[in-house]
């Protein structure tokens, strides 16, 4: 006769370590096919952008007018642009910049925005007033002159092109935080009134912990949406900033300025290989970041666990 199974888990003395939130989240994420495909696609994009160019037989900025505006062929898989440069090579190089800007600006602005919003909603009173009024001012200053001035200053200080990129990222997040902060603050305001926040008060948790561990995690779904939308926004606004002398300096390619190069009707009609590749790259990147965001959202939502 086999020994009867213990029905009740007797107090297990050897304490099983609980899986860390991250591991657990990733485990759940793995079950989401779409999110995983997106993750792999993003990895692929990164590899393509950062390693791909080394395999290209073409030199990035070499112009070759004899070869301009060639449709896709065996030699140029995605054709050439109006300087005869290989579109695929440029696309890959552009990815380096666009991906970096998109993601870095997103991370930065989400961090600033959510923190300031949370602090503002949590403390209310004077802190709230100051932060929100600063946000008001920032929101009411029109971006255009501000950016022009920044451009002027950067050029005055002769900031090299490669550093401007970082400044733009900071700039984009600096201009972007008030909106997010207000959104987060709104959520915090109602979260704060919920009994579980009273409970944290009873437990004597520090404000830091209340904000970082109780309030912000509950705004995660919102943050994820903002973050993913932000990536698309940043990738596109980078090229808009180029026009003001703030973005990447041509001929360095970015997806956004590759699209802009096709901004006349003729290129648009006759040479789709100029704009379809960067457009598709942006689209797929944005979609996969978003699907990944969705997946993360679900993975982090305790009620969605299956």
């Amino acid at each position: 006769m086999d020994t009867p199974n213990p029905i009740v888990n007797k107090q297990v003395k050897t304490v099983v370590k609980s899986p860390s939130i991250w591991k657990q989240t990733f485990r759940r994420l793995k079950k989401n096919k779409l999110a995983m495909i997106s993750l792999f696609f993003l990895l692929f994009m990164f590899l393509l952008s950062f390693i791909g160019p080394y395999f290209s037989p073409y030199i990035l900025d070499r112009t070759n007018v004899a070869n301009m505006n060639q449709p896709p062929s065996a030699a140029h898989w995605l054709g050439t642009d109006n300087y005869g440069r290989d579109v695929l090579t440029r696309l890959m190089m552009a990815g380096q910049i666009s991906l970096t800007i998109g993601i870095a600006a997103m991370v930065l602005s989400v961090m600033i925005g959510s923190l300031l919003g949370a602090i503002s909603g949590f403390y209310r009173g004077v802190v709230d007033m100051v932060i929100m009024r600063v946000a008001d001012i920032l929101m009411s200053i029109p971006g255009l002159p501000l950016l022009l001035i920044l451009a002027a200053i950067l050029s005055e200080w002769k900031v090299p092109a490669e550093y401007r990129l970082y400044i733009i990222m900071i700039m984009l997040s600096f201009v972007g935080w008030p909106g997010l902060a207000r959104l987060v603050r709104g959520q915090i305001l109602s979260l704060k009134e919920q009994p579980f926040m009273q409970a944290t008060e009873v437990l004597g948790l520090s404000d830091r912990r209340k904000i970082l561990h109780h309030l912000i995690p509950n705004t995660v779904p919102l943050l994820l949406v903002v973050a993913t939308l932000n990536v698309a926004g940043s990738i596109l606004s980078e090229s808009a900033l180029s026009f003001l002398g703030l973005g990447v300096v041509p001929p360095t390619p970015s997806w956004g300025n590759m699209m802009d190069a096709a901004n006349n009707f003729m290129d648009f009609r006759k040479r789709p290989w100029l704009w379809i590749p960067p457009g598709t790259a942006i689209f797929l990147t944005v979609v996969s970041i978003n699907l990944l965001g969705d997946g993360l959202r679900d993975a982090l939502d305790p009620k969605m666990r299956r």
């Binding site: 009740v8 666990r305 299956r306």
Partner: protein, 326 residues
Amino acid sequence: MNETLLQVKHLQTNFYTENGVVKAVNDVSFAIREGETVCIVGESGCGKSITALSLMQLIPENGKVEGGEINFSGKNLLDLSKKDIRRLRGNEIGMIFQEPMTSLNPVFTIGEQMIEPIQEHLLLSKKDAYKKAMELITMLGIPNAEKIVNLYPHELSGGMLQRIMIAIALSCNPKLIIADEPTTALDVTIQAQILDLLRDIKKEFNTSMLLITHDLGVVAEMADYVVVMYAGKVVEEGPVLELFKNPQHPYTKGLLKAKPVIGERKDRLYTIAGQVPNLVDLHEACYFADRCEHAMDICRMKQPVLTEIAKGQKAACWLYEDGENR
């Protein structure tokens, strides 16, 4: 003899979680006749609320009713279309939820939430619905009904909210009321009042009631028939008098013993040692065996079935099985 209003047969509700399948309701059967009050008692976490929610088909997303039948006035609820179910809810079956604070929408006033089913099912005008809502509030012993309807849930005390939930459930004179711990947050005078009210309603409209409660006093006062659950299963059932006088299952016995009684003033309360099993990995055995004072070998190897022991009283325990069944 009244006809059977609700017949639950072999109900099985599972939750799919990361750690495995939680068998929250595991082959539960019982019946409620018209005008009858059936009480479900049992260990906390044994599946009472989920049983009730399964009847309403309102279980959380990660759960699923995976077997059995729920016959309500001759129709199997599990076969009904969404629309038909909707028509039953609130109208023929009213439900009172266990946690009133989270069960009311924080952004609507009490009044707005109360008149909805009245307008939906009784087709009253907004004004009349408000009037009816205020009547209900007053009936449940909350003063100042005209003001209460304009307040938001967070502005009421726990007991008041619970009574609001009761009022909503009663508002359309349902045939069956499912009440999940309806009086836990009420003081005894109000509780008595509400219980009286429920009894009156029951008498007047021949309403049936499924009452889930921990308060054996309430059970004793209200129930016609009692179902005792443990770990997702029914371990004992019987008419209330029988059950209180003559509990059969060791768990039922333990329950009755554990209750502090006014005037007794013991030093320590009786407890049932041990803990409830994890509903995820259940094995073929009596789930109570580990905590049972009378556990035998067979208890750990095979599940007892619910059998009639005395007249109208059934229990699932090897103590009462005949030798040949073993």
